[in-house]
Structure formats: structure tokens, C-alpha cells
Amino acid sequence: MEALLFTLDVFFMALLVWSVLRIERKKGVEENLGFFAFREAADAGKSQAGRVNKDA
């Protein structure tokens, strides 16, 4: 279990750095983190809820 979670941790870190690279290498690409993307509003009831931020 420890080995699996450790491996997953390394994988997710690589994915995070790759997402950062994607933003910084390609100008004009949406400034969000792909798999780890953030959204605009936290409350489900709000109009923007669930939408990935496109103008951060």
C-alpha cells in the first residue's frame, strides 16, 4: 500500500509540474492546471459553479 501511494504521489507531482509547463511553454493556452484545474466559485448554487475558470 505504501509503495503504491508513494508511486501515485510521484506521478501526481509529475502531472502537476507538467500542467505548469504546458501553461508556461504555450502562450495563449488557458491558465489552468488540467487534471488539477480550479473552478471559479465554491458554492454549488452559484451561477458560475462547476465552471472551469477561463480568465484567471
Partner: protein, 460 residues
Amino acid sequence: MRDMMMFFGMLALVPMSLMSTFGAYLLWGWTGVLTPANYLYGFMQGVRYNLMFALITMVLMLLRGAADKGKIESSPTVVLLAAFAIHSSLCAAFGYANNPFNLDYYSNLLKILVFVLFMPVLLTKRYRVHAVLIMILLGLGLHGVLEGLKYLASGGGHKVEGIPMSMIGDNNHFATALVMSVPIAYYLFTYSANKLVRFGFLCTALLLVVAVVGSYSRGAFVSLSVVGAWLVFKSRNKLMTALIVIVAAGGIMFLAADTWFDRISTIQTANNDSSFMGRVSAWRASSAIALQNPVFGGGFHSLQVGYVWAQFRFETGLFPFIDVPAEFVRDLPRAAHSIYFEVLGDQGFVGFAIFLALLVNAQLTSRKVRRLAKEIGSKADWARDLSNMLSVSLLAYMVGGASVSLAYYEIVYVLMMLIEVLRIMLSKQLKEIDNTRKGQDPLITKSTSTTKLKTRGGFA
């Protein structure tokens, strides 16, 4: 096997870090919090990952800077951190001699402060702030998730210990650090777009709570209760937060072993508890060191040096009114067992004042961030919520830290600077909004805040 995985991971991570200063910076932070050597047993164990990524970041900064680079502005946070660094250097230089802990703790603190001072330069956009939060959870959260799972798998029999070779080696230190990361996991749960990621962060938050319970730490339990109450109080979605807190509390009642309840119930009888009274004797001795060395203290963890402990262990210091029976005062040196008394003994009253000012300043800056976010409107809701969560994390540290020696823990300073970074980002955003409005309305020339602009716009 793990070493092979790490080897292949590094084959991908090192080239990626060379392509982006911020990417290298993330890996610098991650390796610092994760301490990968704890999970490796073969040929990859001896590699100094943290040093490697720190050097890559600094060399890249010197050679080509960073994309969208910010700058270090003079602000109370930066000034206080610089003052803390300078004063720590003087304390390390003028502290008691023959202290084997002095240089270790001092150099660690300096490394942390260097890492933190890079933050305003590199964290100029929201995705970078978000990435740093994920990095903290991937580093610190892994330990908590693993320990939480072990506790569940053993049916409450597993005793959660700290992470060897790190500043959170003790179970109480570890539990306090975990409590601090719960609000971060909760923020990432509420603000992640991907449902799978959201679910992952929710599970992480709950497993962190389980790991705190499994540590049997009374101080961490108290700060966990504070975090629970504060989350409900401060959250905008109170119903959902309350539901999660109730489920977590119910889970604790259901899962915790009888021995855990026995341990926690001793909070009420602390006066007769040898562990607690031992701490009080350490607090008295720390304050006595500060009274004797009010400006520079005794140096980093001088209380743990044999001859210093022997000199001060029966001193009453600032607490002549607290009686500690002689049987509770150990012959062997012990740690300060409180962030406040740790800094007081190590760095005297001056260092203590700077440390307290840092903690208070972080809360005040967080309040400022919330005000700025309110002025900007719904676009800055994320910053307001994040500032709330960071404020709760630091509050958990201030409560839980009262009984552990964790004053120089890196995450604390990272959170303080994250709040400052949010303030800088929102101030810039507000200025841009002001400028845009000024450009649109030639009648408005001198207003500086959107609140004023809105009012004038209403009358125009």
C-alpha cells in the same frame, strides 16, 4: 521497486524542472515536505533531492528569471521575516557554546526563509497559488493519508508516529502539522473542478483527521476541534461543511479505541499528569533562559543541552506561582514543548516579540485580503475563501503549537507568505479595476477604491 519508480520519476521530473523556474520551485517545496528518503531503501535513498531542486531553481532564476516574475515588496510580512532571519543569525552566534542543535536548526530556518522569500517573486498568478497548495498536500498529505489508512486497516490499533529525519518526527509534532493541512485539503476539495480530484481531496481531509486521532495527541485534538468549529463558522457553505464535520466527528467516536478516549480524558486532570507537568517545568526553564539572556536568548534548542538544562531546570522563570513537584523535573534535558517558549528560550524576548508579531500580522493580513476580495466582488471569492482557510491553519498552529516544539516548521512560514501573496495579487487586481474605471469615466480622477467609484458612478 520504489527506488526504481523514483528513478523513473526523476528521469521525468529533473528535465521538466530545467524547463520552468516555477516547476523547479514546486519540486523544491515538495521534496522538502515529503522527505522521500523515508520511503526509499535502495540506491535512490541517498540522493539529496531537496538540495538538487533548490539549486536548479536558484540557477534558473539567475540565468533566465521566471515567466511573469513578481518582485519582493516591502511589507510588514517581508520586514518581519527579514528581522526574524537577522535576529536568528545573531542568536545562533551569541547562544550557549557546545550546542549541537544550534547550527542544524539555524540553517534549517534560513533555508525555509529563503524558500519563502521566493514566493512573492514566483507566485504571481492564481494557478501558481493553486499548484503550491496541491504541492503541500502531495508532500505532507501523503504521510497523513498513509498513517490514516494504517489506523483504519488496524481497526484503531496502529499508533501514528511522526516522520523520521524530519521536523515532524514526534507524534505530537506530526499531528499538529496534519491539523494545519486539513483546511488546505478542504479548500482544494471545494475549489477543484474535476470531480475525481474533489473526491480525492475530501478523502485526504478525512484521512488526515483519522491520522490525527491515531496519534493520540491531546494538543492536536484540541486544535482539530478548533479547526472543525472554525470551518463551520467561516465557510460560506455552512450546511455542507457542518455535515462533513459531523460525519468526521461521528467517525472518530466510532473508530477510536478505548485507550484513545482514556488518553484524551486526561486533559481534565493535566495537573496530576507527569507528561503535562514535565512540559510546565520545560516552559519555566525556557523563560528563565530568556530572563538571563533577554536579547539573544540561549541559541537554538539550548534547553536540550545537558549543562544548560542542569543550570535552569529548577528555575521558576516567569512562573514563580506554578509549583512543579521535583519528581516531575527530569534529570535528562527536554525540549521546550511549546512554540512560544521554544522561541522565548532560543531567541530571548526580542525574537519572541518578532515571532508573535509574525503570527498576529498573518491574521491581520488575512483580514485585509478578505476586505480586498469583498471590494473586488465575486471574482475574488476564491482568495477570500483561501485566506480564511490559511487563517484557520495558522490558528490551529497557534493552538496546537502551545504544547509542541514546532516553531521552525517550514509550512508555517509558507502559509504566512501565501497570505501576503494573496494580498499583493488582490491589491494589483483592485488597482487595475480602478484604472479601468477611471479610463472609462473621465469624471473620476482621484478615487482610489472601487467602493468610492461605485458610489460616484451611482450618482453620475
